[in-house]
C-alpha cells in the first residue's frame, strides 16, 4: 500500500514539479550503483566463504568436501601465517609513517611561493603517475647490488664494495620506501589544498605573539590539517595492507619469505599451491586485519576529529 502511494506521488511529481524526498532521490540515483556494490562486495565474499568451509581438490578429478572450520583452524596454527602477519604489520607501519611524513613535507614545501611553482608541482607529482609494478621494477634495479645506484656511485669513487639492499634484513625497508615514494605525492597535494585555506592573518598574529616556527607549525598550521591527515592515514593503511603487484614485482616475496606479506602468501597459497579453501580462509583473516586496523585508527584518532 505504501509503495503504491509512493509510486503515485512519484508519477505526479513530474507533472506538478513536487519535490522528491531525500530517500526517493537517493534511491533513484543510487539504485544501479547499489546493485553494482552488492555484486562487488557480496558475491566474492559469499564465494570465498563457501570455499573457506570446503576442501577443494583438483588432482584425481575436481571434487569438494565440506570440512567446517578446519581451514580456519589450520590457518591459525600455521607459523607461516603468523610470520606473514608480522611482515604485513611491519611493512604497513613503516610505509604509512613514511608516506604521511613525506606527504606533509611535500605539502609544506609546495605551499611556499616560488618561481616555477607549477614545474615543481608537476615533477613532484610524477611518482604517483608511475604504476606500482613500474615502481617495483625501478626500486628493484636501484636496490640490487648488481645494478644499483649505490654500487655505481661507489665504483665511480673507486671503491669495490657492492652494497645490496635486497637482503632478508632490509627488504621490508626497501618495500616501504618504494611504496611511500608512489603514495606520498597524493597525500602531499591534499595537504597543500588544505594549507591554502589557512588565512594569512593567523600567521601575522602568530608573528605578533612571537611564536617560534615550531610553535607556529603546531598551533596554526597543524590543526586544520588533522582531518585530512587522518583520512589519508586510513587510506594509506588500507592500500599498504592490500598491496600486491608492487611486492610481486619487486621482491617476489623473497629473499626466502622475508617479504611475503599476507597478500603475497595468499597469492602463493591459492595460485601456486592451488590450496583454495585454505587461501579463502586466510583472505578472511586479512580482511579482518584491514577492517580492524582502520576501525582502530578511527576509534583512537578519527573520532576526535570532525566527522565526514
Amino acid at each position: 500500500m505504501a509503495t503504491m502511494t509512493d509510486k503515485k506521488s512519484l508519477g505526479r511529481s513530474r507533472l506538478k514539479r513536487r519535490e522528491l524526498t531525500d530517500g526517493q532521490f537517493a534511491l533513484m540515483i543510487g539504485l544501479p550503483v547499489i546493485l553494482l556494490l552488492v555484486v562487488i562486495v557480496a558475491y566474492p565474499l559469499v564465494y570465498s566463504g563457501w570455499m573457506a568451509f570446503h576442501r577443494i581438490m583438483f588432482f584425481g578429478g575436481y571434487r569438494t568436501k565440506f570440512v567446517g572450520f578446519k581451514n580456519f583452524q589450520t590457518v591459525l596454527t600455521d607459523p607461516e601465517f603468523w610470520w606473514c602477519t608480522w611482515v604485513t604489520v611491519r611493512f604497513t607501519l613503516e610505509s604509512v609513517i613514511l608516506t604521511m611524513l613525506l606527504g606533509l613535507a611535500i605539502g609544506l614545501l609546495l605551499n611556499r611561493p616560488s618561481r616555477f611553482g607549477g614545474l615543481w608541482r608537476t615533477l613532484v607529482f610524477l611518482p604517483w603517475c608511475v604504476s606500482l609494478y613500474g615502481a617495483g621494477l625501478m626500486f628493484a634495479y636501484l636496490a640490487r647490488g648488481q645494478t644499483g645506484l649505490p654500487t655505481a656511485v661507489l665504483a665511480h669513487l673507486g671503491m669495490k664494495q657492492v652494497p645490496d639492499f635486497m637482503t632478508t634484513r632490509s627488504i621490508i625497508e626497501v618495500l616501504a620506501i618504494g611504496s611511500s615514494w608512489t603514495m606520498a605525492p597524493l597525500v602531499g597535494f591534499f595537504v597543500l589544498a588544505n594549507l591554502k585555506t589557512i588565512p594569512r592573518r593567523l600567521y601575522d598574529l602568530a608573528a605578533i605573539d612571537q611564536l617560534t616556527p615550531l610553535e607556529t607549525f603546531w598551533n596554526v598550521t597543524l590543526p586544520p590539517l588533522r582531518f585530512t591527515l587522518f583520512v589519508f592515514t586510513s587510506i594509506a593503511t588500507v592500500l599498504s595492507m592490500k598491496l600486491f603487484d608492487f611486492i610481486f614485482v619487486l621482491s617476489d616475496g623473497g629473499p626466502g619469505d622475508a617479504s611475503s606479506t599476507l597478500t603475497y602468501q595468499l597469492y602463493k597459497v591459492s595460485f601456486k599451491n592451488l590450496n583454495l579453501g585454505y587461501g579463502a580462509a586466510m583472505s578472511f583473516f586479512l580482511l579482518f586485519l584491514i577492517i580492524g586496523s582502520t576501525m582502530g585508527l578511527y576509534l583512537v584518532w578519527g573520532r576526535r576529529e570532525k566527522q565526514i
Binding site: 613500474g134 648488481q146 645494478t147 591534499f190 592490500k242
Partner: protein, 286 residues
C-alpha cells in the same frame, strides 16, 4: 631571511631529486644497449647514448653506431596492441566512473536517508577487500560468462576498484561545498536540475580529481590484467610488459616500456593538476 631561503632551496632540491631519481635511473637504462647494461660495475651515465630500445619495443629494427643492428622485440605486437587497449580501457573506465561516482558521492554527502550508514559501510568494505582474494571468485564467474580475455570484462573489473575508492574520496569533498540546495529549492529548481546545473559546476575540481584517480587506477591495473587478459588480443600494456620479466629479459627495453607507461598519466595529471590544489577534505571553520 636569506638563511631560511637557502634552507628552502635545499629542501626543495632534495624533494625533486627524491621524486625523480628512480625515474632517471630507468631513463639511463633505456638509453643503454644490451652489452652495456650487463657490465659490472654499472655506469652512472650511459656511454652509448642510443634510442634503440624505444624503436625496438614498437617493432622496428635499429642500426647502432658500430653498424650492428638491434633487432625488434618479440613483444612488440603485444605492446602496440596493449597500448591501444590500455587507452580504450582507461578512457572508458574514467568516463563511467565519473558518471556513477559524482551523483553517488553527492547523495551520500548531502542527503539523509534510511540505510545510509549501512550503504556507506558497504562502500568502505569494497575499498578494503584486497584484489588477490576476489580474483578467484571473479575468475570463476568470468569463465562462466565468457568474459575472460575481453575488454568489457576488464572494464567491469576496473570499475569495481575505482568506484568505491573514488566515492570514498569525494564524499568529504562534497561536504565542503556551500549549502545551496535550500536556495535552489526556493527558486523552484528540481533536485536533478540542482545537481546537474548548480552542484556540478561548483564541484568541477572534485570531478577532475575523480577523473585523474580513475584514469591512473585503470591505466596501471596489473593484477587482474595479468590473470584475465594476458596473452589474449585484449591484453593491456601492463600485462604486455610482464612478458619482459619472464621469457625475454631485456632490461633496456623493459625500462623504455615503463617510461612510456608514465607519459599518458603524466599528461592527464599535468592538465588537471591545478584542480588538485582545490581538494579540501574538511572545512576547519564550520
Amino acid at each position: 631571511m636569506t638563511k631560511r631561503g637557502s634552507n628552502f632551496t635545499i629542501a626543495m632540491a632534495i624533494l625533486i631529486v627524491w621524486s625523480l631519481l628512480p625515474i632517471l635511473w630507468f631513463v639511463r637504462m633505456s638509453f643503454m644497449n644490451h652489452a652495456e647494461i650487463t657490465q659490472f660495475p654499472p655506469h652512472i651515465i650511459p656511454e652509448s647514448f642510443n634510442l634503440s630500445s624505444f624503436a625496438n619495443i614498437f617493432g622496428f629494427n635499429y642500426k647502432l653506431g658500430d653498424g650492428s643492428i638491434s633487432s625488434a622485440s618479440g613483444q612488440a605486437g603485444q605492446i602496440v596492441r596493449g597500448l591501444q587497449n590500455s587507452v580504450i580501457v582507461s578512457v572508458v573506465v574514467t568516463l563511467i566512473t565519473i558518471v556513477i561516482v559524482v551523483p553517488l558521492a553527492y547523495v551520500f554527502s548531502r542527503l539523509d536517508f534510511r540505510f545510509k550508514n549501512l550503504l556507506l559501510n558497504c562502500v568502505l568494505l569494497a575499498v578494503a577487500i584486497p584484489p588477490v582474494s576476489t580474483l578467484i571468485p571473479f575468475y570463476t564467474m568470468y569463465v562462466q560468462l565468457g568474459l575472460v580475455g575481453t575488454l568489457p570484462g576488464l572494464i567491469i573489473i576496473d570499475l569495481t576498484t575505482t568506484v568505491p575508492f573514488v566515492t570514498w574520496m569525494l564524499i568529504g569533498y562534497f561536504r565542503n561545498l556551500p549549502p545551496i540546495e535550500r536556495l535552489a529549492r526556493i527558486d523552484g529548481f528540481s533536485r536533478l536540475h540542482t545537481l546537474l546545473f548548480l552542484i556540478l559546476p561548483l564541484a568541477r575540481s572534485g570531478v577532475a580529481v575523480a577523473a585523474i584517480i580513475a584514469f591512473l587506477f585503470a591505466w596501471n591495473e596489473f593484477t587482474f590484467a595479468l590473470v584475465l587478459v594476458n596473452g589474449t588480443p585484449a591484453t593491456t600494456l601492463p600485462a604486455a610488459i610482464s612478458g619482459f620479466l619472464g621469457q625475454d629479459p631485456n632490461p633496456s627495453q623493459l625500462a623504455a616500456c615503463i617510461l612510456i607507461t608514465i607519459i599518458p598519466p603524466a599528461l592527464v595529471a599535468f592538465f588537471l593538476q591545478r584542480h588538485l590544489g582545490e581538494m579540501n577534505l574538511a572545512d576547519p571553520v564550520r
